[in-house]
């Protein structure tokens, strides 16, 4: 697809748009639609969570004590910080400050990595204690009484696992934006790719903000 060089500030836009602005508006609209599909995707797991919590409220209370509130809490803070640096990066790109923007993107990447490292420690602890999904759950290793506690960990791993995959994808996208920012592709006239990745990253953050209380802070 050929790109014209025309319109505002000399930015190229795809031939089937009338203007760079139309391209920006359309892309942003598309991103919001995509975020809706993401919410529907996680929505399925949230529904499963609600159904099983409704069925076994006391089991959820008992099982959730085996999650590490401190690690979960720190991770929440880490992701909120990453959202902040992401927003700052977009602000910098809009002000033509690609250098600072790159710095903030690096910071966002570091926070994301920190989140995954903490998650890794949490997961390995769960593995060690036999706090595993479904058939792999081993009550002998962790002393949970309730016979259905494996379901809690099924839901825990499915939700946090799917979220973790989204963090990984987000890191890839942020890395790509970093590369493009460092080669000065963006300007106050053309920055929407960074803004779109930012939208995605905020959603990943937002989902965690729901996951944290629902899984770690029951009862």
């Amino acid at each position: 697809m050929s790109h014209h060089t025309s319109g505002h500030g000399g930015h190229a836009f795809a031939h089937h748009f009338e203007s760079a602005e139309q391209e920006f508006e359309t892309s942003k609209f598309g991103m919001w639609l995509f975020l809706v599909t993401e919410i529907m995707l996680f929505g399925g797991l949230f529904v499963a969570y609600i159904i099983f919590r409704g069925m076994y409220p006391e089991m959820f209370v008992e099982a959730h004590h085996h999650l590490d509130k401190v690690m979960g809490g720190v991770n929440t803070l880490v992701l909120i910080c990453s959202s902040l640096t992401m927003a700052l990066a977009i602000g910098m790109v809009q002000r033509n400050n690609n250098k600072k923007a790159s710095m903030y993107l690096v910071a966002t990447l570091l926070f994301a990595a920190m989140f995954l490292v903490i998650k890794y420690f949490e997961y390995s602890h769960k593995f060690h204690d036999g706090l595993l999904p479904g058939a792999h759950f081993d009550a002998a290793k962790n002393g949970i009484q309730h016979p259905k506690a494996d379901l809690f960990f099924s839901i825990y791993f499915l939700m946090t696992g799917l979220h973790g995959v989204h963090v990984l994808i987000g890191m890839g996208l942020i890395g790509w934006m970093l590369k493009r920012t460092m080669s000065n592709e963006f300007s106050s006239q053309y920055f929407f790719p960074v803004e779109l990745v930012g939208l995605y990253w905020h959603l990943v953050d937002l989902i965690w903000i729901y996951l944290f209380p629902l899984l770690y802070l029951i009862g």
């Binding site: 748009f17 359309t26 892309s27 639609l33 792999h136 499915l158």
Partner: protein, 538 residues
């Protein structure tokens, strides 16, 4: 309806010949080429699944084993359903005709995100390859296309690979829907207000909304089923404390809206054809447009009607039955409005119109028999019998496939610049129409007399009905063969088509046949309703 460039005649450059070689197709970002690639791909899957159906019908020539064993039969009916639903009907009209027509009808050069459009085609291919791989290199799949737990957890067939294929193909559907919604919202030609959009666009719009909102849910459901088999997570497995009926809720939360993903575009096609071949404005444009949205909206609230006998609560049954009968109202409005459009028109019964009128007849049967299944007490008797099989084939095949055939004949001149042979087309239509009724009418009778579906062996008293049905399947196959041969022949050797062979009023008929790469030489401006057929002398 629009002011556009007067096309130059003769051998002009068009989207088919502007670049050559298979590579130019594989990396194309042109919506028309992507549409055509979808068309060939879905037609291949339709043919495969069609042969599976012929094999099923042949197996039922007698009440016990004829040409295959029970396990093979179970795999064949599963694959027939899964390929037809996920690899043919869902992508066929939206992704093939929709891709080709949407920008042309809206007066724009392409869809909003051409790269995503090509990507969604390849995502579809990858998903389809997984499913085909499971058949060729794995142990196929024998769960029924519905993958009900706990059988799908215990089955020894290659469920994971097939389910992963469905999961992946879901993303293709999501991307297509997302692309279309963005295109409709942001890329309409100047003057093309929502109320000036052709009804095919309205139908595609409603379809796209369903694709975007419902498909992620089948994604997560298939993901959970994979996790169930690989990691034994226990969400749906009663042995591990899960709930097998929950799977049905998840599955139908997508798959009921998916039924409308399949039928709404067909309704869009029929609206276009009926107006064109009656030379009259469509009767009650807004009612038809909004009823598409109403159907899409209600379709999210009726999934439980697949589960009246599943053991769900009586209150759920009350609610789902009530909401289900309400879907019939916007559907009835469409049927009556189409019929009223014919009144005092100038009707020409070319193949597209024959199919549009057949659609009204067959879809009315499909819709009315749906009421039997929506009525709680009657569904207790008819659920999971051949009545259901006949009902959804009247909707899916009598509706969607019939509309698709009409649409292909209608837009073939636009897509390939050549006319199909009319008389051969009519012979094909006759085979399909009469064969179809021969094939599925007896199945209503069998169902109401207790013939359960997915039965390899069947009680001997149903032999004659099964045989009639099987003969019908041959007639339908013959009809398809005639159509495919005539359309393929026409795309190369048919009479050259003018810009607007049918005298239609929508924008795609203002450009050359076939269109140039960027569709319009001068971007069109729209200043009227899409079916502005003024009174004319006959």
């Amino acid at each position: 309806m629009a002011t556009t460039h007067e096309a130059a005649h003769g051998n002009h450059a068009n989207y088919l010949n502007e670049s050559k070689g298979i590579w130019s197709w594989m990396v194309t970002l042109d919506h028309k080429r992507i549409g055509v690639m979808y068309l060939w791909t879905t037609m291949i899957f339709f043919t495969i699944a069609g042969f599976l159906a012929l094999a099923l019908r042949l197996e039922h020539w007698g009440p016990t084993q004829n040409i295959m064993g029970a396990d093979t039969y179970n795999k064949v009916f599963t694959l027939h359903g899964a390929i037809m639903v996920f690899m043919f009907i869902i992508p066929s009209i939206p992704a093939a005709l929709g891709n080709f027509l949407l920008p042309l009808m809206l007066g724009t050069k392409d869809v909003a995100f051409p790269r995503l459009n090509l990507a969604s085609y390849y995502v579809f291919l990858v998903g389809a390859a997984m499913t085909v791989g499971a058949i060729l290199f794995g142990n196929s799949v024998d769960t029924g296309w519905t993958f009900y737990t706990p059988y799908s957890i215990k089955s020894g067939s290659s469920v994971v690979l097939v389910v992963m294929g469905v999961f992946v193909m879901g993303f293709s559907s999501i991307f297509t829907g997302l692309n279309f919604i963005a295109t409709i919202h942001k890329l309409r030609a100047p003057g093309m207000t929502f109320h000036r959009m052709p009804l095919f666009i309205w139908a595609t719009y409603a379809t796209s909304i369903l694709q975007v909102l419902a498909t992620p849910v089948i994604g997560i459901t298939m993901f959970l089923l994979m996790m169930e088999r690989v990691l034994h997570v226990g969400i749906f497995d009663p042995k591990l404390g899960g709930d097998p009926v929950l799977f049905q809720h998840f599955f139908w939360f997508y798959s009921h809206p998916a039924v409308y993903i399949m039928i709404l575009p067909g309704m869009g096609i029929v609206s276009e054809i009926i107006a064109t071949f009656s030379r009259k404005p469509i009767f009650g444009y807004r009612a038809i447009a909004y009823s598409s949205l109403a159907i899409a909206g209600i379709s999210f609230l009726v999934w439980g009607h697949h589960m009246f006998t599943s053991g769900q609560s009586d209150f759920s049954n009350f609610l789902f039955s009530l909401l289900t009968v309400l879907v019939a109202v916007p559907t009835a409005i469409k049927i009556f409005n189409w019929t009223a459009t014919l009144y005092k028109g100038s009707i020409k019964l070319d193949v597209p119109m024959l199919y549009a009128l057949s659609f009204i007849f067959l879809f009315t049967i499909g819709g009315l028999t749906g009421l039997f299944l929506a009525a709680l007490s009657v569904d207790v008797h008819l659920h999971d019998t051949y009545f259901v099989v006949a009902h959804f084939h009247y909707v899916m095949m009598g509706g969607t496939v019939i509309a698709l055939l009409g649409g292909l004949h209608y837009w073939w001149p636009k897509m390939f610049g050549r006319m199909y042979p009319e008389s051969i087309g009519r012979v094909g239509w006759a085979c399909v129409f009469f064969g179809f009724n021969l094939l599925f009418l007896p199945q209503f009778w069998m169902g109401s007399h207790g013939m359960p579906r997915r039965y390899y062996n069947y009680p001997a008293e149903f032999t004659l009905s099964h045989q009639i049905s099987t003969v019908g399947s041959w007639l339908v196959a013959l009809g398809f063969l005639i159509h495919f041969a005539s359309l393929l022949w026409a795309s190369k050797y048919g009479k050259k088509a003018s810009e607007n062979p049918w005298g239609a009023k929508t924008l795609e008929w203002t450009v050359e046949s076939p269109p140039t790469l960027h569709n319009f030489h001068t971007m069109p401006t729209v200043n009227s309703f899409p079916y502005e057929y003024k009174p004319e002398k006959v």
